[in-house]
């Protein structure tokens, strides 16, 4: 082991740079080996180099640390790591004393396993839920008729074809803007975020579909990436998420305004069926016409009935009055003295008027029903 001896300057203790670095390095080596989690970036492997280097990045905090590993060991793991992958590195802190570079000396590397992913996902889900990113109040209604539809999808994915076919079948005049991105792998998350942003900046984009067909748990991971989930939650344009199959629930599904179980379902959600729409309009117009006509008919009938009654009313009134007058006339007829005369009676008057007693020789006027005459009383009985 190299020496860490101070130089003597009277009462000061001074170390050379090499001795300082060695000293710190030796002290660091006493720290235990630990597991460190992060994202692989700037992976550098060279046949001439004894070690493989990469930077391990903390995607949440942005912190990073250099990692080195013996090339033989690294190759022996057969991990075939790529930039952007999440890993667990087992190692100890080390100071490269020649340069004073602090780094993590890796003894082993494990790719993030399903269990680790699940745990990380659960942590992220809890954190984002606590922030309210999945809250029901954040969900917006989709427009009935979007002027333009954004579609973020893989470049030749069946999901893309399903969404496009469904939209174009249901609503042929639909205007669709497609943004193709990686939908799996370490670069997917950043690309998806960029694609969403780009679509939001396009004029008249009223809704965006984020579509990806089914895939393995790892394949769907970018759609649970914190960056993607945040971009979906804060998108100024409503987003329909159609990622994976029914049973998959990537976090972007929770953050989206609407979750579609399949890409086809997403297509059905963003546009109405034109034929159905036209039919509905036609039916509405028909029933509108029918209702107006029915109301009109009813009103006409009512007016006609009223008119009929109006017309009959005066005649009825006259009839009633006539009946009354005729009844009175009938009574008048039976009560008239003339009627009595017609039954054979006679009215006898003298110069004082009607008489009920006469004397012999008296002159009287006799009135009959049809005529009258003068007479002289011959005898009284």
């Amino acid at each position: 082991m190299a020496k860490v001896e101070p130089l003597a300057y009277e009462d000061k203790t001074v170390y050379s740079v090499g001795a300082f670095n060695r000293g710190v390095a030796q002290w660091l080596e006493r720290l235990p080996s630990v597991w460190v989690e992060g994202e692989v970036t700037e992976l550098r492997r060279h046949e001439r180099w004894a070690s493989v280097f990469f930077t391990l990045k903390d995607p949440e905090e942005g912190a990073s640390v250099g990692v080195s590993m013996a090339r033989g060991q690294f190759d022996g793991l057969r991990l075939d790591l790529a930039n952007g992958e999440r890993v667990h590195v087992f190692g100890r802190p080390q100071l490269y004393d020649q340069r004073g570079d602090f780094r993590l000396r890796a003894l082993s590397i494990e790719r993030f396993g399903v269990g680790a992913h699940l745990a990380a996902l659960e942590r992220l889900k809890t954190k984002l839920a606590a922030e309210g990113l999945f809250a029901q109040e954040r969900k917006r209604r989709l427009p009935l008729l979007p002027r333009r539809i954004g579609l973020v999808t893989g470049n030749d994915a069946a999901a893309k074809r399903d969404v496009l076919t469904t939209i174009q079948t249901r609503f042929p005049p639909a205007n669709i803007l497609v943004a193709e991105t990686y939908v799996q792998g370490p670069r997917a998350a950043d690309e998806i975020v960029a694609a969403l942003r780009a679509l939001c900046e396009q004029p008249n984009v009223d809704v965006i579909v984020l579509a990806r067909g089914g895939g393995s748990f790892e394949d769907l991971l970018p759609f649970s990436d914190e960056r993607v989930v945040r971009a979906v939650a804060t998108s100024p344009v409503p987003i329909v998420s159609a990622v994976g199959h029914e049973q998959d629930t990537p976090l972007c599904d929770l953050a989206a305004d609407v979750r579609a179980s399949t890409p086809t379902m997403a297509g059905r959600l963003v546009v109405p069926d034109l034929g159905e729409l036209v039919q509905r309009l036609d039916r509405a117009r028909d029933s509108l016409g029918r209702n107006v006509r029915r109301t009109l008919d009813r009103d006409v009938q009512r007016a006609e009935r009223a008119h009929e009654r109006l017309r009959r009313a005066p005649a009825l009134l006259v009839e009633r009055k006539r009946a009354r007058i005729e009844a009175l006339a009938g009574k008048l007829g039976t009560l008239s003295p003339k009627a009595t005369l017609r039954r054979g009676y006679a009215i006898v008057r003298n110069e004082h008027g009607v008489v009920s007693r006469v004397s012999v020789g008296e002159r009287v006027d006799v009135e009959l029903a049809e005529s009258s005459f003068g007479a002289r009383v011959e005898d009284v009985r």
Partner: protein, 67 residues
């Protein structure tokens, strides 16, 4: 003296019939009442006939102007 309205004539006619029905009027008065009653009846009839004529005339005009 102005001509009585239909209602006035009818009312008077009713009163006359009522008095004749009670049979208490002396014969001469009864005769006079009866004559008056007949006149009133004729007046009422004339007014009703005129009204009916007018109604029929109006109804015919309405019928003609119907679309």
């Amino acid at each position: 003296m102005t001509e009585p309205t239909f209602e006035q004539a009818q009312q008077e006619l009713e009163q006359i019939v009522e008095r004749l029905e009670h049979g208490q009027a002396p014969l001469d008065e009864a005769l006079a009442l009866w004559e008056r009653g007949e006149a009133l009846y004729a007046a009422c009839r004339a007014k009703l006939d005129a009204a009916q004529g007018k109604i029929e005339e109006l109804a015919r005009r309405v019928e003609e102007t119907r679309p």
